[in-house]
Every structure is written in C-alpha cells, then in structure tokens.
C-alpha cells in the first residue's frame, strides 16, 4: 500500500522528459492547426458559416469522405488477407514484396497520379479493356483508385502487425479442436486483431481524405475537398481557401474523435 503511494508521488526523470517531449510534439501540431482554425473562427466566422452553407463546398467535402470510405473498404478487402499471409508465412522475396507495398508512401504523389493515369487512363493497361464500362479519368472510380493506391500501405502494414500480435498457437488450438482454418481466422484471429485493423482503417481513411497530389492528376473533376481548397487558393487566394480547409479539418477531426471514443473499449481484447 505504502509502496504504491510512493510510486505515484515520485515521478521518474525519464517519464518527466518523455512527457515534456509529448507536450512539444502536441504543441507543434496543435499550434499549427489551431492558429488556422481559431484565426478563421475569430476573425471571419461569417466566412466559415458561408462556406458551410455552400452546397458545392459541402459536396466536395462529402465526396472526399465518401470516396475515402470506399477506398478504405477496398483496402480492407485487399489489405487484411495480404497482411495475414505476410504475418504467418515466410516465402522467398517476402522482404521485397513488403518493401514494394510501402512504396506508395514514399513516391511523390504527383508521380503516383501520373503512374495511375498511365495504367487506368482510357488507353492504359487496365483502363483500356474497361473503357466501355468504367471511366476512371475525371470520375469517382479514378478518385477511389488514387486514394486506394496512396493509402493501402497503412492498412496492409497494420493488418500484418495485428495478425503478428496474435499467437499462432491460439489458431492451432482452435484447429486442433476441429475448426477449419477459415473458422479459426474469422472467430479467433480476426477478433483479436480487430483493434489493429480498425486503427489501420482509420489511418487509411484519413490518408485517403487528405490525398491531393495523386487525385488531382487523375481526376480534377468531380472536385474533392483538397482540390477545391487548392483551386480556391489559386483563383482567389488564402482568405477564400481557408474556411474550406478549416471546415474539412473540423469535419474529419470530429469523425475521428468519435471513432476513437467508440473503439476505446476494444483494447480489452488486445492481450491477456
């Protein structure tokens, strides 16, 4: 009893230093964003309200969220199975495969956009055979493909880490009791790594919403939030683009906050 109280009172130097660093990190992000957000709210609240009431502005922000959501679903569908294989099996060239999956994070997004347009354009490798069914250039499928490309690594990686954190012996135990692999995966491994997958999905969605460089090359229209912000900046300047930027931040921030609060209880699954 006595010992625990003392432990709480005495702050370890390392904890103190790390906490200070956390404050610096937090302030770095917070000051940058809050300067913009509060600047907008205090100086020009009516401008913000006007932007919020503008149908095309809200439409563009909604399109960002919506296209990002589709991209995230596709990423889950592709990234989770891929992550499972990478977590459970060793095969020749695995390092290479893992490195290549990470490339979209490193590639400048304009380059990613050009590469995507080359493949999904109406005369591209994938675009041409599909040309009579789907138009990628300047259309929703193009936006989704661009978002998927740049954000997929986040999901694949966190899925892999999530599956790695589940002891394979648990799966084996389920299988020795007669469950086929798919049952062991869906009822043992998947629930245990759900939090990793969720965090990965949130990161993927976030990355998809913020994507600009790749999307603007393959689809300038229909306009997503970041394209509209850029466009307003070019044709009007800073003061016209800021309300939309603030709006986009506020909308996404509140969504992520809600997701984090809702998923906070999930951590119980993680271990023990």
């Amino acid at each position: 009893m006595n010992a625990t109280i003392q432990k709480i009172r005495r702050i370890e130097p390392l904890t103190f230093i790390f906490s200070l660093i956390l404050i610096i990190l937090f302030l770095f992000i917070f000051l940058t964003l809050s300067n913009m957000i509060f600047g907008q709210i205090l100086e020009n609240f009516s401008g913000l309200m006007k932007a919020a009431g503008n149908r095309s502005v809200m439409g563009a922000i909604f399109l960002s969220l919506y296209a990002g959501f589709i991209a995230t679903l596709l990423a889950l569908f592709l990234g989770a199975p891929a992550g499972y294989i990478l977590a459970r099996f060793d095969f020749p060239g695995k390092r290479l495969v893992e490195s290549i999956i990470d490339v979209p994070v490193v590639v400048p997004h304009t380059v990613a956009g050009i590469a995507l347009l080359t493949v999904f354009g109406s005369r591209g490798l994938i675009g041409e055979p599909l040309a009579s069914y789907i138009q990628f250039r300047d259309a929703l499928p193009g936006i989704v493909v661009a978002m998927l490309f740049v954000s997929l690594p986040y999901l694949a990686n966190s899925a892999r880490e999530g599956f790695k954190s589940v002891d394979p012996r648990l799966e084996n135990a389920a299988r020795s009791l007669g469950a086929p692999l798919w049952k062991a995966f869906f009822f043992v491994t998947l629930p245990l790594s759900a939090r990793h997958l969720l965090i990965g999905a949130v990161m993927t969605w976030a990355r998809a919403i913020s994507e600009f460089g790749a999307v603007v090359i393959i689809a300038y229209y229909p306009m997503i939030g970041p394209t509209l912000i850029y466009d307003r900046f070019i044709s009007y300047g800073l003061s016209a683009s800021r309300p939309i930027a603030v709006l986009l931040i506020l909308v996404t921030l509140s969504i992520f906050l809600v997701i984090r609060i809702l998923s906070a209880g999930w951590s119980i699954y993680d271990r023990d």
């Binding site: 347009l117 300038y220 229209y221 070019i234 800073l238």
Partner: protein, 363 residues
C-alpha cells in the same frame, strides 16, 4: 539477449545512414570547391556560396526556356543556385502578394498581370519580352489527325468520340485565352454555334453578347464549371494536359505554340485573326472579354510575356543579371528556338525604376 542484439542493429543502421549522409555532404562540398576554385578558408566561403540562391517564379509555359537560361546563368555565375518554381501565372503572382514568398524574378505568361496585381505595391516595373500564340496540339494517335487543318478543326472537335482539353480559365491565362480563341472563331468562320457546341453546352460557362458586339464569357466558380468529362478534360494548368495528350487520354488540346513545339507535338496553326499572336489584330481580339469567377475581367489581347523583379527580392543585383541574360541576344536565341519569338526591344512600364543596366534593352 535478443533485445540487446536488436538495439545494436538499430544503432548500426543509424550509424550507416549518418555515415552516408555525411559522405554525401563532403562530396557536395568538394564539388562546390572545384566550382569556386581555390579557397583559403573553405568552410566559411562554402556557406556563403551555398547561400546565394536566386529564386525564380515563372509561368508553366516558360519552363523549357527558363531551364536553359538557368543553365547558362549558373555557368556564368558559379556558386549561384537558380531555383525555379513553375506554376500558373496568377498563382505565381499570388505566392508573392498573398503568401509573402520571396522571389528574385517573376515571369508571367500575361504581362498584364504584373501591372494589375503587383504594381505599385509589390513591383515597380515590368518588361514585356516575348510572344506566343494559341494552337490546337495533337499527335498521330489523335482521332482524325490525318484530316485536321486550320479550316476544319472546330468540325473535328465537334465529332463524337473526340476528346479535347483546356485549362481552367480561373487559374490559368491559357484557359481564358482558349475561351477567347473559340469565341473569335465564331466571327471568323461565320458559324455562331462553334463556342456553344465546343464549350458552352458542355461546361457551366455563360456567354452574353453586349450591345456593341463585344462578347463577354462569364466563368463560374471552378467547382461549378463541371465540364462534361466524357468529352472535355479540364485541368488547372495547361502543362498538365501535355501528359494527357501523350497518354492518349485526349485527342486535342488548346495550348501555346511554344509548349507544343517543346513537346514535339503536331499542331494546327490557327488564323492570326483568332490565335492572339499578332499585335495587328489587337482590335479584333478585344471584342471578346472573359470574366473570371473572382470578378476580374480580361479583354482579348496579343499574348505577351512579362518579367519583373519583385520588391521583396533578396538578391536584386543577381536578379538584374538574370533578367539581362533573358533580354540580351543569348536569351533571345533561346526564346526563338522554343517557339516564343522575342520582342526586341522589349516594351516596358516604369522604365525609370528599372535597374540601370536593363534600361538599354527596353523602350
């Protein structure tokens, strides 16, 4: 035990990275040394030489000639690093006037932007130094490319299945000039449906004819432009469309002759009455006006490039040297080769506030 090995691994990776970066730094310094020649106190001198950066903001359509100017300038001035930033002309100006970015030289695809947006607050003078014209660029792969000529280009663009592109009039002079050229085509070819068929019906543009015969094209907000994307490819900057043509994403696009030339595209040269190339037809061009979404109205005029040294330039002397290179014979040669015929002597406004060594090149 395993933990210790991991720590060693991380440390060794970090050490390797540090060694590589340090090595690169040394190589870089050595290269600088060779450029500058013998140095007594190398470290100090290197820092000063590395610090001399000449920042140049220019229109996307000036990228190729400015790259050549950069190479020539850096050869003449060792130790100076010319850093170019290509963007839409209006955007380049705004980077200075609104974002407060520092630039030593600004070159715009529409010289008129300098007097209207920068003088007197951000600049004192400009020199208009080269011309250009609007053409319809295509490749051998383009649909009906074997048929197109200056007499039927608008018929070809009308045909189903033909895709064409132009840049956003709100962002880019090439975009509003596209509106002017297509509108002028109605007068020239005596067909008052050309603009309607090619642009008006497929975008959110609005055209009104005024009493004196002038046509005013009103461009809506960019998000309301909503082009029919199965026919038209619209991009913020004209240069972005070049890659789309190369990929076969579009068959034709409205572009400056210089860009078509630099990319090795084929192009239809339009009649001088409509292609905004000739000062002779300036009166005809002025019959079309474009009102951008921000309310700014531009009147059709010959395409003339302008350059200035903004007031916030950090290295005004070097900037003057750069502009001098641009205006003198070697610069003129570069612009001739790139399909942007120079104006000799350049015409200017605010000549008296120009650096003295430049005044000889302008009138």
């Amino acid at each position: 035990m395993k933990g210790k090995i991991e720590v060693f691994k991380v440390v060794s990776v970090l050490l390797t990275l540090i060694t590589i970066f340090a090595g690169l730094g040394c190589v870089d310094n050595q290269a600088e040394d060779e450029n500058i020649g013998a140095m007594e106190d190398s470290s100090e001198n290197i820092t000063t030489s590395e610090d001399t950066v000449l920042t140049v903001f220019h229109a996307g359509s000036l990228s190729v000639p400015f790259e050549e100017l950069e190479a020539e300038f850096e050869a003449k001035h060792p130790g100076v690093d010319v850093q170019r930033e290509a963007a839409g002309s209006a955007q380049s100006v705004r980077k200075i006037t609104e974002l407060g970015k520092q630039a030593d030289v600004l070159a715009s695809a529409d010289y008129a932007l300098i007097p209207s947006m920068m003088i007197p607050e951000y600049a004192e003078w400009y020199a208009a130094f080269a011309r250009n014209q609007i053409v319809i660029a295509y490749t051998n792969e383009s649909l009906y490319s074997d048929e197109i000529n200056a007499g039927n280009w608008y018929e070809i663009l009308r045909r189903p299945g033909v895709n064409y592109g132009f840049s956003n009039p709100n962002d880019d002079p090439c975009g509003y000039r596209t509106q002017m050229v297509t509108q002028l085509a109605e007068f020239y070819y005596n067909d008052n449906q050309i603009y309607d068929d090619l642009i008006l019906d497929k975008t959110g543009m609005i055209a009104t004819t005024e009493e004196n015969g002038t046509v005013l094209v009103s461009v809506p907000e960019s998000e309301a432009l909503s082009p029919d994307t199965s026919k038209i490819m619209l991009r913020s900057m004209e240069v972005e469309l070049s890659s789309a043509l190369e990929m076969g994403e579009i068959d034709y696009f409205y572009i400056y002759r210089s860009v078509a030339e630099q990319h090795g595209f084929k192009y239809v040269e339009l009649p001088p009455e409509i292609d905004l190339s000739s000062i002779e037809y300036a009166d005809d061009y002025s019959k079309v006006q474009v009102e951008m979404a921000n309310g700014e109205v531009v009147t059709g005029s010959p395409i003339v490039y302008g350059v200035t040294i903004p007031k916030n330039a950090e290295n005004p002397e070097l900037a003057a040297e750069f502009v001098k290179l641009l205006l003198d014979e070697s610069g003129q040669q570069i612009f001739i080769e790139n399909g942007q015929p120079p104006i000799v002597p350049a015409f200017s406004e605010g000549k008296e506030s120009m650096p003295e060594e430049l005044q000889a090149f302008v009138e």
